[in-house]
């Protein structure tokens, strides 16, 4: 018959089992619980970190987008300013050109008027002279005597001038 220990009997087995339990605890802690839990904690940290990183990147992108939008708007405003400036300058230049042209035209007109005046004066003078000659001739005929054109020239001219003042100057 094989040797059996009692059913309810505290023996050396208690010491063995205490030691066994502690040894098993140390083994499992070292081989199973520590590495697995550390690995899982590490992975969780990595996930948290990568999520945070992604969020940071998103925020950065958002900021960049805003900045670019702002810059784009600035550029557009600048463009508008430039166009406005250019059109204003063009308008001024056009006005200048028109004014110059008007001035030019005025000058030409003035000159033309002066020319006309001169021609008129010339024509009037010629008429006066002819009229004087005619008058001398007519007077000579009437008087029957050759009127000395040269001698009475001054007289006649004065007369015509006197008449002419009123007749030609209107």
């Amino acid at each position: 018959m094989e040797l059996k220990a009692g059913l309810v009997e505290i023996s050396w087995t208690l010491v063995f089992q205490l030691a066994n339990t502690l040894i098993l605890f140390l083994i499992l802690r070292k081989l199973l619980f520590k590495p697995v839990s550390e690995m899982m904690a590490g992975r969780q940290n990595a996930i948290v970190e990568s999520i945070k990183e992604a969020e940071d990147k998103n925020a950065e992108a958002e900021q960049l987008k805003l900045e670019y939008q702002r810059r784009l708007e600035g550029a557009q405003a600048e463009g508008r300013e430039l166009i406005k400036d250019a059109s204003k300058r063009a308008e001024t230049r056009a006005d200048e050109i028109v004014a110059q042209a008007q001035q030019e035209a005025m000058k030409i007109k003035d000159r033309a008027e002066a020319d006309i005046q001169r021609e008129k004066q010339k024509a009037a003078n010629m008429m006066k002279e002819e009229l004087a000659a005619l008058a001398v001739m007519a007077a000579g005929k009437i008087i029957g005597k050759d009127l000395d054109e040269k001698g009475h020239d001054k007289l006649i001219k004065d007369f015509i001038d006197e008449v002419g003042e009123t007749t030609w100057s209107n």
Binding site: M1, E2, L3, K4, A5, G6, L7, V8, E9, I10, S11, W12, T13, L14, F16, Q17, L18, N20, T21, L22, I23, L24, F25, I27, L28, R29, L31, L32, F33, K34, P35, V36, S37, M39, M40, R43, A46
Partner: protein
């Protein structure tokens, strides 16, 4: 049933120290669990797959249960609680593989209960300070001191005998049943004990699987509750 239901003595160490079945079966369980831990963590990857998922689930479950029962600040107890649960479940299920469950030996359960007992008082003193801790024994009145001491001493005894009783009870009933079924087969004139097949499986399911797992869980839960109770 010669020699009763006690564990067999496998060999004796020099000096007459007997090494029983309980101890050798525990060594086998230790070896199995060590190999399991080695294999499980051998190829650990950042992206878990296959066995790693199971291991992670197991470890995570132990840590969560510990944090839930003892509080987040006592999570460091998880490896011990996990070791205890794994060992107890393996020990209680050892009956299914033809071993005598190590937990059917009061020495095993007493060893575990004594560890729990020392943890209760060691961590209680460490957390609260020896003076405050000892003053707790005079609560609510100094007259309660003997009762409090008896209560504290009762803890490991009730812990160890609850588990031992459950497992050894199942063991004895199963032994009696096998004996009865064998005898019945012989009386019916069948030389092979055919009745021993099939019928005991149902009872194995109850005594070994159900009671075994339940008692492992209860032992671990009570340890957690007592230790955290002494610390808070």
């Amino acid at each position: 049933m010669e020699g009763g239901f006690g564990p067999r003595v496998i060999f004796e160490l020099p000096g007459g120290i007997p090494v029983t079945e309980t101890v050798t079966t525990t060594w086998i369980i230790m070896a199995v669990l060590t190999i399991f831990a080695l294999v499980a963590t051998r190829r650990f990857d950042k992206v878990p797959k296959g066995l790693q998922n199971v291991i992670e689930l197991l470890v995570d479950m132990v840590y969560k249960l510990t944090a839930q029962t003892m509080g987040e600040d006592k999570k460091a107890f998880a490896p011990y609680i996990g070791t205890m649960m794994m060992y107890l479940i393996c020990a209680n299920l050892a009956g299914l593989f033809g071993f005598r469950p190590p937990t059917a030996d009061v020495n095993t359960t007493m060893a575990l209960a004594l560890l729990t007992f020392f943890m209760i008082h060691f961590f209680g003193m460490k957390r609260k300070g020896v003076g405050t801790y000892l003053k707790g024994f005079l609560q609510p009145f100094p007259v309660m001191l003997p009762l409090n001491i008896i209560g504290e001493l009762a803890t490991p005894i009730s812990l160890s005998f609850r588990l031992f009783g459950n497992i050894v009870g199942g063991l004895i009933i199963m032994n009696l049943l096998y004996g009865a079924l064998g005898g019945l087969s012989t009386n019916l004139g069948i030389s092979i004990p055919v009745l021993q097949t099939g019928i005991p499986a149902v009872l194995h399911l109850y005594f070994d699987v159900f009671a075994g797992v339940l008692q492992s869980f209860i032992f671990a839960m009570l340890t957690m509750v007592f230790v955290s109770g002494a610390m808070d």
